[in-house]
C-alpha cells in the first residue's frame, strides 16, 4: 500500500507516493536525495537525524513521512543562504572547530538552532543539558558547546 504524501522541505513543496512505513529520514535521503541528514543509531538516541518539523527539532528516524503531510520540514541543507553563506550556527561550528569526523554535525547544528530559538540566554550548563539527545564520539563535546554558545550569540545579534 502506497500513500501520497506532500510537504514543504526547505521551503519547496514536494510530494511522492510512499509506503506508510517509510521514515521521514528515508524519505529525505532516498527519495529527495538530501543526504545531509544522517542515520546514526536508528533508535532515536544519537540525534544525527535531527531536522526541524514546523520549526522544532525532531528525530527524523522516529517519525513516519506520512505523519508530516502538509507540514514544514527544514534539513541541514536548508540552513545556508542560496549564495552559500553559512547560517550563523554553521559558521560558529566552523570557527570553533565544533566537529572532527562530521557525522553527528548536521544533527548537532539543527538541535543547536532549536536551543537558540527556545533558550536564547542559554549558558554552558544549559547547553550541555540540552544536547543530551545528541551523541558525538570524537570531540568530547568541548568545542561543540563553545560553538553552540557562540552560534546562539550570533543568532541573537542577527535578530
Amino acid at each position: 500500500m502506497s500513500i501520497k504524501v506532500s510537504m514543504n522541505v526547505n521551503g519547496k513543496p514536494v510530494s511522492a507516493d510512499v509506503e506508510p512505513r517509510t521514515l521521514l529520514v528515508q524519505y529525505l535521503r532516498e527519495h529527495l536525495g538530501l543526504t545531509g541528514t544522517h542515520v546514526g543509531c536508528d533508535t532515536s538516541q544519537c540525534g544525527c537525524c535531527n531536522v526541524h518539523l514546523n520549526g522544532e527539532a525532531v528525530k527524523s528516524c522516529t517519525v513516519f513521512a506520512i505523519q508530516c503531510e502538509g507540514q514544514d520540514v527544514t534539513t541541514i541543507e536548508g540552513l545556508a543562504a542560496e549564495d552559500g553563506t553559512l547560517h550563523p550556527m554553521q559558521q560558529a561550528f566552523w570557527e570553533h572547530h565544533g566537529l572532527q569526523c562530521g557525522f553527528c554535525t548536521p544533527g548537532m547544528v539543527m538541535v543547536a538552532c532549536d536551543i537558540a530559538r527556545r533558550l536564547p540566554d542559554a549558558d554552558e550548563k544549559t547547553i550541555r543539558h540540552e544536547l543530551e539527545g545528541n551523541i558525538c564520539r570524537c570531540t568530547g563535546y568541548q568545542h561543540i558547546v563553545e560553538a553552540v554558545e557562540s552560534g546562539i550569540k550570533a543568532m541573537n545579534a542577527k535578530g
Partner: protein, 265 residues
C-alpha cells in the same frame, strides 16, 4: 519494520472503529515508543490509527483544584506550560525529564500512560496525583488503571482523551535515571493533599505502584525521616544488569525520601 495500513481519522469515533475493525490495530500518538518497537519487530500492528487530526485532544486546562491535560499534549508543552509550572510544578519538572528535547517535541502524555512502560515517568504522576484517566467511553481512577507490564484497564478501541490531575498542596518527583536511556531505574512521586499523602513508585516493578506503609507514616509526619526505615520487599522487584532487586529496593526508599524532602522544603 513490517508493512501496515495507515489511518488518519478526524474524529474519536472514527479512530475507535478503525482500531477495532483492524486485524491488529494500534493507536499512534507521538510514536516515540511505538515506532522504535515496530523497528525491532516487538510490535507489528496490521494498522496504525494516527490521532494527529482528531480535534480536542490537545491542551491544558486549569479548573478548581484540577489540571486537565489532553492526551495528545506533548511532553514539551507540559514542561513549558506556565499553568502547569504554577499549579503542579512537580508535573512540569517530570515532563522535562523525559527523553531528550527532540523526543519531548513528539512524545505525548496519553501515549506514555496508555503504554504503561514499567520505567516510564508519567504513570508515577498519574498514580501519585490520584488522577482520573478519561477515555472515549468512561473515566478510570488511577488506582484502577495500571494493571501490569504494558497492561492497563483500557479495552480494545478505547482511547485516552485526557487526564485530570488533582492539584496537591505539595508534590515532588525524584528519579534515579538509567544513565544511557534516561528511563527511571526507580522514580518516586510524592504528593500531599491536606492530611492525605500518596507515594507512587515507577521503574521498580511490572508497573507503577503505591507504597501505603510510607503513605501512612507521612500522614502523621511529612518528613524524610518518617520513611527512612521503611524498605519494600525485594521479591517481585525488577532485576537486570543495571540494577539488581535489592539495589532497587534500596533506591525506592532513597528516592522517596528525596521526593519528600523536596516537597516539604
Amino acid at each position: 519494520m513490517y508493512e501496515f495500513n495507515y489511518h488518519r481519522p478526524k474524529s474519536l469515533d472514527e479512530a475507535a472503529s478503525a482500531a477495532k475493525e483492524a486485524e491488529d490495530g494500534k493507536i499512534l500518538a507521538g510514536g516515540m515508543t511505538l515506532i522504535p518497537s515496530m523497528k525491532l519487530r516487538l510490535a507489528a500492528p496490521s494498522d496504525l490509527v494516527d490521532l494527529a487530526d482528531v480535534e480536542g485532544l490537545k491542551g491544558i486546562t486549569v479548573g478548581s483544584g484540577t489540571v486537565t491535560i489532553g492526551a495528545m499534549t506533548r511532553h514539551h508543552d507540559v514542561q513549558s506550560s506556565a499553568d502547569v509550572q504554577k499549579a503542579i510544578p512537580a508535573l512540569a519538572q517530570l515532563a522535562g525529564g523525559i527523553g531528550d528535547p527532540s523526543v519531548r517535541h513528539r512524545g505525548t502524555m496519553g501515549g506514555s500512560v496508555a503504554n504503561s512502560d514499567p520505567a516510564a515517568d508519567y504513570p508515577a504522576a498519574v498514580l501519585g496525583l490520584d488522577a482520573t484517566v478519561k477515555t472515549n467511553s468512561r473515566e478510570i481512577a488511577a488506582d484502577d488503571f495500571f494493571l501490569g507490564l504494558f497492561e492497563t484497564a483500557l479495552e480494545e478501541g478505547e482511547i485516552i482523551t485526557a487526564i485530570e490531575f488533582k492539584i496537591p498542596d505539595a508534590a515532588a518527583y525524584m528519579k534515579f535515571a538509567q544513565p544511557a536511556s534516561g528511563f527511571a531505574m526507580v522514580g518516586a512521586f510524592v504528593a500531599k493533599f491536606g492530611g492525605d499523602v500518596r507515594v507512587a513508585i515507577t521503574g521498580a516493578k511490572d508497573c507503577v505502584f503505591r507504597v501505603t506503609e510510607m503513605e501512612d507514616a507521612l500522614k502523621s509526619n511529612f518528613s524524610a525521616d518518617a520513611i527512612a526505615d521503611i524498605m519494600i520487599g525485594e521479591d517481585d522487584l525488577l532485576s537486570d544488569i543495571h540494577c539488581a532487586a535489592d539495589y532497587r529496593a534500596h533506591l525506592v526508599t532513597v528516592m522517596a525520601k528525596r521526593a519528600v524532602a523536596q516537597a516539604a522544603g
